[in-house]
Symmetry: D2
Subunit: 374 residues, 4 copies
Amino acid sequence: MPTGSANPTAMLLRLRKNATRADLEAVLKLARELGYETRFLDGGRQLLEARRPEAAGPGAPPDRSRFEDMACVAQVLDAAEARELAERSPDRPDTVVRVGDSATAFPAVFGGGCVSLIGGPCAVEDEGRLTEVAQAVRRAGGTLLRGGAFKPRTSPYSFQGLGAEGLERLARVRAAVEIPIVTEVLDPREVERVGATCDMFQVGSRSMTNFALLREVGAAGKPVLLKRGFAATAREFLLAAEYVLAAGNPNVVLCERGIRGFDDVTRNVLDVGTVAWLKQATHLPVIVDPSHAAGRADLVRPLARAAIAAGADGLIVEVHPDPSEVHSDGAQALPLDEFRRLVRDVRALVDLDGRIFVAPEREPETEREMETIP
Amino acid sequence: MPTGSANPTAMLLRLRKNATRADLEAVLKLARELGYETRFLDGGRQLLEARRPEAAGPGAPPDRSRFEDMACVAQVLDAAEARELAERSPDRPDTVVRVGDSATAFPAVFGGGCVSLIGGPCAVEDEGRLTEVAQAVRRAGGTLLRGGAFKPRTSPYSFQGLGAEGLERLARVRAAVEIPIVTEVLDPREVERVGATCDMFQVGSRSMTNFALLREVGAAGKPVLLKRGFAATAREFLLAAEYVLAAGNPNVVLCERGIRGFDDVTRNVLDVGTVAWLKQATHLPVIVDPSHAAGRADLVRPLARAAIAAGADGLIVEVHPDPSEVHSDGAQALPLDEFRRLVRDVRALVDLDGRIFVAPEREPETEREMETIP
Amino acid sequence: MPTGSANPTAMLLRLRKNATRADLEAVLKLARELGYETRFLDGGRQLLEARRPEAAGPGAPPDRSRFEDMACVAQVLDAAEARELAERSPDRPDTVVRVGDSATAFPAVFGGGCVSLIGGPCAVEDEGRLTEVAQAVRRAGGTLLRGGAFKPRTSPYSFQGLGAEGLERLARVRAAVEIPIVTEVLDPREVERVGATCDMFQVGSRSMTNFALLREVGAAGKPVLLKRGFAATAREFLLAAEYVLAAGNPNVVLCERGIRGFDDVTRNVLDVGTVAWLKQATHLPVIVDPSHAAGRADLVRPLARAAIAAGADGLIVEVHPDPSEVHSDGAQALPLDEFRRLVRDVRALVDLDGRIFVAPEREPETEREMETIP
Amino acid sequence: MPTGSANPTAMLLRLRKNATRADLEAVLKLARELGYETRFLDGGRQLLEARRPEAAGPGAPPDRSRFEDMACVAQVLDAAEARELAERSPDRPDTVVRVGDSATAFPAVFGGGCVSLIGGPCAVEDEGRLTEVAQAVRRAGGTLLRGGAFKPRTSPYSFQGLGAEGLERLARVRAAVEIPIVTEVLDPREVERVGATCDMFQVGSRSMTNFALLREVGAAGKPVLLKRGFAATAREFLLAAEYVLAAGNPNVVLCERGIRGFDDVTRNVLDVGTVAWLKQATHLPVIVDPSHAAGRADLVRPLARAAIAAGADGLIVEVHPDPSEVHSDGAQALPLDEFRRLVRDVRALVDLDGRIFVAPEREPETEREMETIP
């Protein structure tokens, strides 16, 4: 199987800014002659993908060089390594991802100096409870509600989520509380159905290498919260994002949620170094899930603080009105008052940096409430 | 989200061998009354799954105990931990997985003391070449041909395999060389199409947690080669197999292919300890992929020997007529003569254990050929 | 080899607060009769270690229970698990570690809400340069100078540090700049010599399991900066500290410096989760080395910020007047202006928490200087 | 701190085979003029180390090139990377390490196609028991007795071994059973005392980076069993061996004992890939410790088989007459009959390869005994 570097079945051509229409036509003509199908990956028509259905033949290197010889071709990229759409470049501003329809709810904003918080239970269960949490999250300063209708479970016999019924509950709570919703999608065949309800797709850690799913959410148009695989390198993570971007969806938010380690004092090892690296390497927003990283409520707040201090553009936090009641992952869900303290800390850190903490106006009583927190 | 342990939305009941028809009816009646849907997971009707669409309520523990109180219920299993179908039990013989239609080809046999070898290129490319490799693999003692039509690639721009065209080539080579075929499936929507060609599905390392895919191959009926995720625990691996088994497909072959480590002298760390543990923990066959573990041809043979000595029921090896020509993964593909030496070593180790090396009769000239190998 | 749990060769007895002199004598008498040598591990005479030179015999469990039966014995601890001296207990205040003789220099203070910074080059080389860095570190707000005279090197042929000559240079710089010094000791035979110069011993990551060295620095009296082994669990780390504490030295500062991972975007994975856990689990101060964690200067500041936000009591940072000149580890050493920015960020985070940033008064021109930093 | 590559404080010069006395003198003269102290690292006087007490100056590169310009200097090696003494080279035969004085006992032989087994308890305890195990190990085919007098313990309160008393017991058992002894040394100050008793030093996993200890055992003359750090790369492992070799001791046996992983079905992950790599990369013998890798007796035999099949030159196995009695590590100690089965398996694998299994003649009753093993 050919690698990108000498791979005639897939090439990425970066074209010069000053390329003329005639230049473009010349490139497309040559590609056609060599048997490549082409498409532009960006609006600016500067990044051209050339694919050939047939596998490598001896003609490969010549092909490549023939494109390289053209004046308007700035570079022929290594298809296996190119993170062309995800990578930060000097002339490229931060991508700012807005989630939620401002007509019906206060939108969440990630990136470009804007920090937003996502809160909610692990899985959708009782609707009354979900409404209660949604209101509390919103009041505390959260701008997105999380809640799983389809749950990825290690065991086939575990509760797999409420599915369609869960989606309907999410939709009703979304309307009632006026807060946008992010929920996980597991199966490319469910993307359409889930997209009809949610404001943002979540692709979980265990789906980061589900490339069919990445392509589907890439085509579906709504913003995508992409979680890092718990043993994925930072580059593999960016290439997973590249799948979504290359499918035409620019609204990807990356989420570090901890990597698998050898110790057990935390459930996973929160990799703040990679958060800092990503903030340099990509223009995409980067958030952190301190709940799954810690795996225990008492360490969620310090990890949340560390993430924001390292430059994260937001957090996704597991919150539950009464964690003692939650069976699974209950150990890591934050009670509401703890969540309010976390929000207060995050707000202070964001202010210190001169960044913007994005939150709907909060009722005064909540303010007073917060003052009373020890 | 409720865990299995107190989870009324999913319970596994192990019934006593001596349960009467009346006993069964009593259990099913109680389940119905409590609002559970039920199904037997095994032919022997001793393992009953009870699911309830609705999430947990306070009534949970009573439910559980009511089943436990029934004389014919041996045990109510923790749904989140149960590896009931995959686990070895005293009265349960090794699962022997046969691959290939003995009418048209010599079948591969894994488990129960039978050892088979899978060989072939990483990806399907030139058909003439594939035929050549298939014949050589068969002649050398391999009983299954591997070859990827759909390739999981880290980059969206890398060669993704020949897809449908690749499947057709596999089908033609299969007919011409009379050797069964294992090929990877990535997308639940492609299971039917891939199943129409292959004799065995491969679920790759990066798809081990693609639960929708596991359910589909579980329903598709053909044997499944399930590779361990490169950072999955042995228990998570068995639970992934449990998804396939619980969907009604008993023919699962587990494959250890190396875990991600901190060093780079090998591409992955071959975890022979887990191979040895799996041979004790499950009745399913366990094979090893020394090619992806080593990531370099010169270490494939010693790893193959180690795997067989540790008790593996087979190997899947990357073979190529002329590795120097292969672009990707070429570094790890074995030349044919090296593959023959590997087969000879494996055969000797299997004989030493009094196990059976499964291979079609081999032409004498190949025998002579092999004698000449230094 | 007996474990602690049933091990009669080493027992830890926690005595009740209200134990009388007569009670103590009874315990000591019984221990003598059973052939144990005893010593109190704490000033409060509540923690008694009982050792027996001879290995376990059948009499073991009875021994244990005979102590447990005594009214004044609150608990017989599992010697293999006990982190009795390192562990935080309700009635125990944070340990505050002061480094440096306030007569000759402004001391560093770690713990109890006090945050101090350590800065300096990796290894002691040119004395003029070292003086320059020491002055700059002090002026920027650092209170401890780091510099290696004895270097642990992976290769026997690499520069092993200037040794005795390096110590002398450190001593002269210490006197000239009036800043305390922390330097690494590698060999138990060098503890006395190194202790004659330094204000604080550094025990490096690769020496965390050098138990003979831990005992020697424990007996030497001066504060110890103990770095976590790059693959040590948090509990193993605390038990290494316990070696120093049990040798009679209460002044241990723990340092997380990153664990070994599978990716290469950072040299090590900074484990902020363990920093947060340690702040709960132990009364000892916990600091972080962002330089070795990142392995690259451009990620040191975000990691430093994350560490402080997670609750760290200080940082040890590699600083060099002209990193471009440094050959080894140069990639991770911070230029002075970058170090000043880091200090400014840390100071702001510490203020935000209402903690105390410990630093000598700084010359106004430095202040102005800092204002001009972009 | 200068790296090796441009490091004038330590250089390794590989001299041409045909270098004349005059050539050598010219090199030594130049080195003196440039202020280097020199010594030959090998008997053949082809590898010259040049050290300079003072740290790097601008003069560095010129120095290096001046040596490179000399006709008799084949190469100036990178001191930080050079594994010159450990590395396999075409003209260099396998190092064969003999342990034990053939006058008093049957010696163990590692390498050059010879395979030897080491067996014994984790720690020296009861002398009668130790004698019993020693006799049984020898009878079963083991040629070296292991037993710890000084134990590295994670906790300062755990049993630290019998120390001097343990050494004396080892000495008496050695004389009585006529079997050579390998025992661990932890402290450079104890090397002389331990060396007076043992036939081979063991440097444990947690001491692999104790460079002072490596130098001492390198100077002590007796063979060294060097265990890989549980998170050391293969290259770091070879460089640790290089410390011993560079100190003048050529008799180093490398031991892989498992690396730290994320799963718990085995205590460590036996890295057979690194065993295979080491067999190519170095001329030193490589053995495996399946007991510490598995951490459980039931997986020791398959791991032992895998190690030998991967090319290991021997094994070190924990054996105990009655594991149920052992408190610590008891879970992983093999009962004698299981050890005999392991030896039988290893012997068969070694014979299959045409390698030599080194063992004293065994009494017939043992043979019969073995036949009766199921």
